[in-house]
């Protein structure tokens, strides 16, 4: 077999000098870090000047599809992006579907590294070997979705385009990058990094073919995988609803974020569930590259504030811009989704920030005069849209909210820190975890902050006992290696997690595509390497980093859930510490949560151990 899956080149772009050059993809990078998230993590470690301001011109931004991106198989449309996070100051990344991943491969690249900053707004246009920098002055200030439509008109429909909205331009710490009219690399403030570089958009078109090590066998395996997807019972019953299908279940088990996570059951959930989405606003299903089970729902919504089309809302948006602010109709949630998408805001963090502001208002910490004489209320679309707008444009109170709930609470004070729902400065995504220890430790130890996609473990809590701590940290670690592996391969994991697709398929097709003789154990080892590296990155960048950065908000440790199926539940500090002790021990980390020298060396990361020691850590 020949080598395949990789295009063999890295594109380096300097926005300051408006120069670009291609270089060969190092073999060691492939073998140790696989692709996607692995490339992002290693390159950020090597290229980031320690202690740098994430929004300085010298900050590095990395974009990487994976070796299976763009290949004939289910879910091969994911691209990973990362930078030192403006939201947390530590390791930051996000990924998205759509069609950009495949197009970057077709243009001939496994990775794009962006450094420097333009003095004026710019669009980076990559057209096979041609790299151009187009003036984007007339696009600056325009919405993320609008900008994509305008660039499609100007450049052609065959360009794949990623954009930022006003939130990214205004350096909002939870600004996202948008693509394919509603797919977002949402988390950790990656959009703000583009804004700091005056990078309004990237447009990519390519005409190359991805080499495949064993084309016949890889094609046969891909075909087998598609066939199995179509035969799964979830194919016909899950796809029409997408991720919104889970709303009722999350309520049933008492884990639905409601009114700034003050409780975990939303009485109005039937107004915003998958059935409501399908019956009331869905126009059609919308899938990414290579997807047989499209989770995207293209919708039309109409409210008294306005109407329009939007991709979504998917589950996370329903949870955070629905239940968490108590919006009771799917039309309202979709409208808030549409506004956030155009502004370029991550809907997860934005929903947290809006809910935090409403609770502060309820408690008298924010006054009517702070918000233009308004009354901020739960279940009020006007309040939510107003908060999104002032945040994205940093108007008045929005300038503070644009820094995220952790920073906002540190300024507002008066105990508001206890209901600023975040870990490491990243707002909590859509699962209340006071009665789900495996999910709680997953959130606490997620490398980017309170995000669900590295380890999603509530069913493990349900299966093994929701009050028990036994085995919960071990499960989180197992999932933190399996799930991010998809991000390294350039794949969507929804076929695996949603319709019961077998994991072994992925290990089987990897050598057929790449020609690399790596087993599933080898791949999981690479994922563990990356997990330790991202932890080390945060330790290097954040002074005093360690256990204290892994704690959940006080609300989850001190306030029992007041009602619903999980009424009375909380996870006290002692239990939180017991989970962390177990987690650090199983990982081979110090008692303060820093990867030990022995662990780092065993993963081939001796250089990382040396640098942490130089910076004062005792490993």
């Amino acid at each position: 077999m020949t080598c395949g899956g990789y295009m063999g080149r890295i594109l380096e772009v300097d926005l300051s000098s408006k120069k670009a050059s291609a270089s060969d993809l190092p073999e060691e990078l492939k073998e140790k870090y696989i692709g996607g998230r692995g490339f992002v993590a290693r390159i950020l470690w090597e290229r980031t000047t320690p202690g740098i301001d994430p929004l300085s011109s010298k900050a590095v931004f990395v974009i990487a599809p994976g070796p299976l991106s763009g290949v004939f198989m289910p879910g091969s449309g994911k691209v990973h992006m990362g930078a030192k996070s403006p939201a947390t100051g530590g390791y930051g990344d996000a990924n998205m579907g759509g069609h950009l991943a495949a197009e970057i491969k077709y243009a001939g690249y496994d990775c794009i590294i962006i450094q420097g900053a333009s003095e004026t707004p710019v669009v980076l246009v990559i057209d096979d070997d041609s790299v151009k920098f187009l003036d984007a002055s007339d696009l600056w200030g325009k919405g993320a979705i609008t900008t994509e439509a305008l660039l499609k008109e100007r450049l052609g429909e065959d360009f794949q385009i990623a954009t930022i909205g006003p939130a990214g331009e205004n350096l909002v710490k939870f600004a996202c990058i948008s693509h394919d009219f509603g797919r977002q690399a949402g988390r950790t403030g990656v959009g703000a990094v583009w804004g700091s570089k005056k990078l309004k958009a990237i447009a990519v078109r390519g005409t190359r073919t991805i080499p495949i090590a064993d084309p016949e066998e890889a094609f046969a395996k891909g075909k087998e995988m598609y066939k199995e997807c179509f035969q799964k019972p979830g194919f016909k019953t899950w796809t029409p609803y997408g991720t919104a299908e889970v709303v009722d279940w999350v309520n049933r088990v008492g884990a639905f974020p409601t009114k700034n996570f003050s409780t975990s059951y939303f009485e109005g959930h039937k107004g915003i569930n998958g059935q409501a989405l399908k019956d009331k606003i869905k126009v059609t299903d919308k899938g990414c590259f290579g997807c047989p089970t499209p989770c995207g729902k293209y919708s039309f919504t109409k409210t008294r504030l306005g109407e329009g089309h939007v991709e979504g809302p998917e589950y996370e948006t329903i949870a955070l811009l629905g239940g968490n602010v108590a919006l009771g109709t799917i039309e309202e949630v979709a409208y808030a989704n549409m506004v956030a998408d155009e502004l370029g805001l991550d809907t997860i963090s934005a929903g947290n920030v809006a809910a935090f502001a409403i609770e502060c208002f309820e408690k008298g910490f924010i006054k009517p005069e702070d918000v233009g004489g308004r009354t901020l209320k739960w279940g009020d679309l006007d309040s939510v849209v107003y908060l999104l707008e002032i945040t994205a444009h940093r108007k008045g109170l929005g300038d503070l909210l644009a820094c995220g709930v952790k920073n906002a609470a540190s300024v507002i004070g008066r105990g508001s820190e206890s209901f600023a729902i975040h870990v490491k400065g990243l707002e909590w995504s859509g699962y209340e975890a006071r009665w789900a220890p495996a999910m709680m430790i997953s959130y606490m130890t997620c490398d980017v902050g309170a995000h669900h996609n590295r380890s999603w473990a509530i069913t493990f809590d349900v299966a093994k006992g929701r009050d028990s701590l036994e085995g919960k940290s071990a499960k989180a670690i197992e999932l933190q290696h399996v799930r991010p592996l998809f991000d390294m391969l350039g794949l969507c994991r929804l076929q695996w997690v949603e319709i019961g697709f077998e994991f072994q398929h992925y290990a089987d097709i990897f050598p057929l595509v790449t020609g690399m003789n790596l087993s599933s154990e080898d791949l999981l080892k690479a994922s563990e390497r990356v997990w330790n590296l991202t932890r080390a990155f945060s330790a290097r960048e954040i002074s005093g980093f360690g256990r204290s950065y892994d704690y959940p908000p006080k609300r989850f440790m001190e306030e029992p859930i007041p009602d619903g199926p999980a009424a009375g539940k909380k996870l006290e500090r002692e239990k939180i510490d017991a989970l962390l002790d177990d987690y650090y021990s199983l990982r081979g980390w110090t008692r303060d949560g820093i990867p030990s020298r022995e662990k780092l060396v065993s993963l081939g990361l001796e250089d990382v151990a040396r640098e942490l020691e130089v910076r004062g850590y005792t490993l």
């Binding site: 019972p233 016909k236 998917e314 069913t459 349900v462 299966a463 319709i499 019961g500």
Partner: protein, 77 residues
Amino acid sequence: MRAVLRISGHARTFFPGERDYIEVEFQANETLADILVKLGVSPDLFMFGVVRDEKVDLDYIPRDGDEIALLSAVMGG
């Protein structure tokens, strides 16, 4: 009466023997949730069942000979 439960992916790990195909006996008026409880499996692990390509809730009362696929909530994006 008898029915067959089909489980796919890692939802199998919730069942004794991690099987993907389980034949169960049940009484009239027993629900799908009742059947799961008798197997020692929490109904809260599942969002819904699928019978003849149609979604059914966990309070669905199976018919003799039904083949029921169980969809676990293993979401997370």
